[in-house]
Symmetry: C3
Subunit: 202 residues, 3 copies
């Protein structure tokens, strides 16, 4: 069992928790809705990436551990949600680690499938953000990428960082950790200092 | 022509009718919008299932009878919509039979493609509900699964029932009919006695 | 480099501009959001068509020129958006040429993949409109196809025209140009004389 696999399971678990918790602000909050939302949030991005790249079978269809990680995330949210909601800062860290990890794993996977670096970066970002975009679209929210400070842009920076390091032959684990760390640092600084992406229409 | 095939065509026809009728409450109701909505409602769930399972070609692309069943549903809705709207209870039964059938057909198809039972159940539920979810998302409604009493949960129960019967070697037609009937009975009781799925956040 | 390829690149460029400009009316308008919206608008329809037809690899994944055309569209919008917004009539023409072209290219591609004419027409319409539908759904707008005068219906007419001409053995370029012209003419007349598709519910 590689470190990367363990991290992916943890990322899926974290995404399931943050997915289920988003339903707290919605009018409808039954068990099925919460589980469905957690599920879509966790697997949406990676699934879209794999469909676009024609990379079958989908990971969660063959590896049942992912379904169980999501189930565990739903259960933990159900039992501890009051506690979790008080921990907003910890959750923010969880979500940030999740998107950092998913971005680099997605970029790497696309690269291994032989696509160009530009496409690999797009696939990395899609892996990280599209689960949230699909979830927000379904629940009639404005998708997270339109709202949050430097959210997807941090993923873009991390993906580019990974691609540059990879291009110059930097050892994989070093590149992986550096690029993920860059995403996490940008996100934390962005929230701390209220950075925002420049407006498109001046 | 198998019984199952006939039932699928009837299910598609029923889903097209209920899809076109949802547009009645919307501001925009032209012919193209109604046909498009009916089409997406009917084929959305099964299409998503087949894309996730990499099961190509898609059924409605090779079997033109499905397109004609949808066309017939749209025409029938156009001609008889006043009558149909008065028959809300009958329509509820149509929709309920549709989701029951689509759930079990979807579960069975996934199982035949060699996935694990947990995944087969998810695929069965997706077949039944995702057409409606996509339709509601497009027309800016809160998706049906977040609203309706014990809607997707009935599908889950039916899919599990089918999987258990299949596991114990119960003959296929018996399993099919029992599991579909369970979904229909749960839905009817849920609406009759106003059952609801327990809240996730207490 | 064929004429059709050049037209496709121009169509992608035009769709990226009209996609980025739609964000002008939204609350959130940062660079990432505008680029993401332009990207989804441009590639959404063709991508959905190719996924449904199992036609891999996706065009924009192998042909980087499409990504650059979108990037150019985003940059041009950024620099000239005031000018572009004043040119609403020109933009309408751009968008109309874009949907005309994408409809016929999509119909033709589906036909070449061996599907029936009815399915080819659906694929042609999907190519032209689904990018906009996905974009509008994400930004919580009512999708364009529910709103605009004779929008998708013009595509349907063009696709049918192409299929009829193809059926009677008309030379490909003639069929292509006639069918595209028909879409453009219908759209222009529809806007000029405020045509609308008949109501479904009378």
């Amino acid at each position: 069992m590689s470190i990367q696999y363990v991290l992916e399971i943890i990322g899926t678990f974290a995404f399931a928790i943050s997915g289920a918790l988003t339903l707290k602000d919605q009018k409808y909050q039954d068990w099925f809705g919460a589980s469905f939302t957690a599920f879509i949030s966790s697997i949406g991005g990676g699934t879209l990436r794999d469909i676009l790249l024609d990379s079958y079978p989908l990971v969660w269809i063959t590896d049942i551990a992912i379904i169980y990680a999501i189930g565990a995330g739903i259960l933990v949210t159900f039992v501890f949600y009051r506690f979790l909601l008080r921990l907003r800062k910890t959750l923010f860290l969880f979500d940030t680690c999740g998107i950092a990890l998913f971005t680099i794993v997605g970029t790497e996977k696309a690269l291994n499938l032989g696509v160009r670096p530009e496409i690999a970066a797009i696939m990395g970002i899609f892996s990280a953000i599209m689960g949230g975009v699909i979830r927000d679209t379904m629940t009639n929210e404005i998708p997270i990428i339109y709202r949050k400070e430097v959210y997807a842009t941090a993923c873009l920076a991390g993906a580019c960082c990974y691609l540059v390091l990879d291009h110059f032959g930097v050892e994989r684990n070093t590149a992986f950790i550096s690029a993920s760390a860059l995403i996490i640092v940008i996100r934390i600084l962005a929230v701390r200092y209220e950075w925002s992406v420049p407006r498109f229409f001046r």
